[in-house]
Symmetry: C2
Subunit: 498 residues, 2 copies
């Protein structure tokens, strides 16, 4: 099946919209009656929505799932092209991510992982290209350089954040965290600027932007520290948890398991291509109206709409002032993730940073395609932002610029394919994974998590742990699904039997 | 409520059997009819059994839970004495433990944690007492010493095990792991003996025995490496995951949440003080007979009986040859965990190793009691094994011997209370947490996990990840509960409606 989402470019066929994915669901709806009153309507079929929908359906509730797209997965999905899975959004998983791994074990997929970085064959080097130099180093040198830079950045307490963020799941119980959250990454760089070598500064800034997809000024320092704490306060943990293991057959094979299990309960109704427009919360129920004008009724609704999109839905009564303030601020991640298939198998062990002048700042060899080409995955963001489909030649040049022309002629780094999803132009995402500007989380985490009458809100954007990650989405879907299930069971127990 | 389990000694009252615990369940049974045919009978109310029972009850199945003890929790339970929770078995948790943390979030207990080691006040030192010296060092020196020793021990591939065990959840897919599992800890020490300083060797051996509760010869080297891999291949990760965070109000407050949620479904029947004697597996169902002679029938049974106890139950037909072989080998952990309350608040920041001559090898300051005393937790094991209740004076001397008499007179380390559970003499445990002798896991992991007709087996002893941990128990309960739920739903869907 082909999704409307994403783009693929090849020299032969040029740029085409739409990509194949096992995440596309057919038939697109199984709703048999519009008059049904559901226990709960879940808006959004990403990991949050599917986790909540599945858990509630397994737990005996009658669930309606509405999704604007033609596919499941939200901001994480894969497209298998010529036998190779390209990850369009959230990709990496690790057994240190509690909620994700709990699901990996549930579906016995603990062996279905592939390594991203692998330095067994090929050029085996790191290319660092700034405005004033272009140098090549070993991966050992790269690790030492990046580790040193990140350690200087994170060592705010002599123990690399262990004192400042001892319990990352409840960090904002600590007043110090609130202060850290009002700092930007740039503020922190200013504090340590004199201790950084020029190369450290380049890789540090590129690493921060790779995490945040914003700019140094718009990225919260605490949010970065929180990632660091979740990774175990070390560079080795950072690499292992953030960019080492991905699903052999792609994210969409994982998320399908959630959907299929929910469907097997026979208590899941669903409709894709069905964006929601309006949510009306009454004392005892919720009415959800789609753009097409259909209204569905349920005892509860779970919105898994991302923060940056929530403002496009109208609520009656209106959302709380706190939630509206959070929506008005929004998150800052406008990551541009571009896959390039390059006719050079030697690049499998290549990594590079080209910053700050290029539109793609970082890239790594991420796999070898069945055709024997190297798949490299490249990242840009709000800094030097581009829409890859708007000027595919410029996108192509940004990929090529990652390679030093003295080392690689056009032939050695020939681009055979470019694949991407423009998350910034995606009306159901309006950005990539959540990354907060200074103060947003410290001030509004509670607001973002708060329910609105019979409407509950689940999204990785306001998870406690792996906020912005697949794991955070599952955390949130679990939390809110459990809350709704408990409430409705209690209510149904107290209803008189007729 | 008071459990039959455990012992408490005070100077005033002497040794008494039985300890208070919120894990004791009253009434001890809610079974109303002995003729009911259950969907599933779960044997054992530890974390494996409760996770399976709860998930299946939530998922709509009719569950009977049978437990030999008077309390929930199995090898993890806490006793609150004079306002302070003593942890009798499994204690520490971390957000890097996927299954445990998933449950911590489910019950919103992510803030309900206390630190074990805390070096903010008091003597702030580490005491290393071997047969030939007794020295005191700072905790920084302790960390450097233990880290150096563990790094030498684990660095079998130049990257501290990362190459040897890249994916710990499926390690035995790697032939190298099988070879490592046939090595003992002693074999590995012999390989690196010339590189170790005498102090490194002492803390290394004590650290291994603290993990395994066996002897150096009976402890699998791979099992230790597997723990190390699960901890992120670093000493910092080792300490953070294994001995840093515990529940503020004790383990039993956590495990109660599982039981209470299961009970709230109204689909859970249970009986405590009801050891199982015989399991009869027929083609379509299971009959479970208790020691009291009562037989219960169900479509499936889940045994959560530990490996070392499984041989005390008879099965008809008999268990497979592989499972019987694993049972005959058994695991080797005979940890002796002794809590001592000492009338010296300065010991809060004290840690010590007294090895190899003492009956308690390691101890750490673990908390401050409401009376202002320091709670230290002490560990012995198969090496120099003792039954603490058999000679309480000897136990008391083993505690006192942890302290250098030149530094601490009888007054400075006066013992006000001793609390413990003798896991070796416990008929439902026959040892502490699982730790494997060489070869057991490599050869029999599959056998231990295998079902026996309609009987399935869930226990931390054969978990894939945190084997021997609370997390492994929850992993197993989740796995087997899910398997039974799926099967019974499929069967019930294919049964003709009458």
């Amino acid at each position: 099946m082909t999704s409307r989402d994403g783009y693929c470019w090849t020299p032969k066929e040029g740029l085409k919209a739409g990509l194949p994915s096992v995440g596309v669901i057919s038939p697109s709806s199984n709703i048999s009656s519009v008059d049904t009153v559901y226990d709960v309507v879940v808006i959004g079929a990403g990991y949050s929505g599917l986790t909540a929908a599945r858990n509630m359906a397994v737990g005996g509730l009658k669930v309606l799932l509405l999704e604007g797209r033609d596919r499941i997965g939200g901001r994480s999905w894969s497209s298998n092209i010529d036998g190779y899975p390209f990850e369009m959004g959230g990709t990496w998983v690790h057994w240190g991510q509690a909620n994700t791994w709990h699901e990996v074990l549930r579906y016995q997929m603990e062996q279905d992982l592939n390594r991203s970085l692998e330095f067994l064959r090929g050029v085996d080097h790191f290319e660092l290209r700034s405005t004033h130099e272009s140098i090549t180093m070993t991966h050992k040198e790269e690790d030492e350089l990046v580790a040193s830079a990140l350690e200087k950045f994170t060592n705010i307490d002599g123990v690399y954040g262990r004192k400042a963020i001892p319990l990352p799941y409840s960090t904002f119980k600590n007043p110090e965290s609130i202060l850290l959250d009002w700092k930007s990454a740039q503020d922190r760089i200013n504090e340590i600027a004199t201790t950084l070598t020029p190369q450290e500064r380049t890789v540090l800034e590129a690493s921060i932007l790779l995490a945040s997809g914003g700019t140094l000024e718009t990225s919260s320092f605490h949010e970065f520290m929180h990632w660091w704490a979740m990774c175990g306060y070390t560079y080795a943990g950072w690499m292992e948890r953030l960019i080492t293991w991905k699903f052999r057959d792609g994210q969409s094979t994982f998320v399908r398991r959630f959907f299929e299990e929910a469907l097997a309960t026979k208590r899941l109704s669903y409709a894709f291509n069905t964006p929601v427009k309006h949510i009306h919360n009454t004392k005892s129920s919720v009415q959800v109206t789609t753009r097409k004008g259909q209204t569905y009724r349920a005892h509860r609704a779970i919105s898994t709409i991302p923060l940056n999109v929530l403002g496009s839905i109208t609520f009656d009564p209106p959302l709380s002032a706190g939630k509206q303030a959070a929506i008005a601020i929004g998150h800052v991640n406008q990551t541009v993730k571009v896959h390039a298939e390059i006719a050079n198998p030697e690049l499998r062990s290549w990594t590079g940073v080209t910053y700050p002048h290029n539109k793609l700042n970082c890239a790594v060899g991420d796999g070898t395609t069945p055709a024997g080409n190297t798949h490299i995955v490249c990242f840009g963001g709000q800094h030097n932002h581009m829409d890859p489909e708007a000027d595919i030649d410029a996108t192509s040049r940004a990929v090529s610029s990652l390679f030093d022309p003295k080392q690689y002629g056009a032939k050695e780094a020939k681009i055979e394919r470019i694949v991407f999803h423009n998350w910034s132009k995606d009306e159901f995402a309006k950005g990539a994974w959540f990354f907060s500007p200074p103060g947003l989380v410290a001030k509004h985490l509670g607001d973002m998590r708060e329910r609105h009458g019979n409407v509950l809100f689940a999204n990785a954007d306001w998870a406690l742990g792996w906020r912005g990650f697949i794991d955070g989405a599952i955390e949130e879907g679990t939390r809110v699904g459990q809350e709704v299930r408990r409430e409705l069971l209690t209510e149904s127990a107290s209803r008189p039997t007729l």
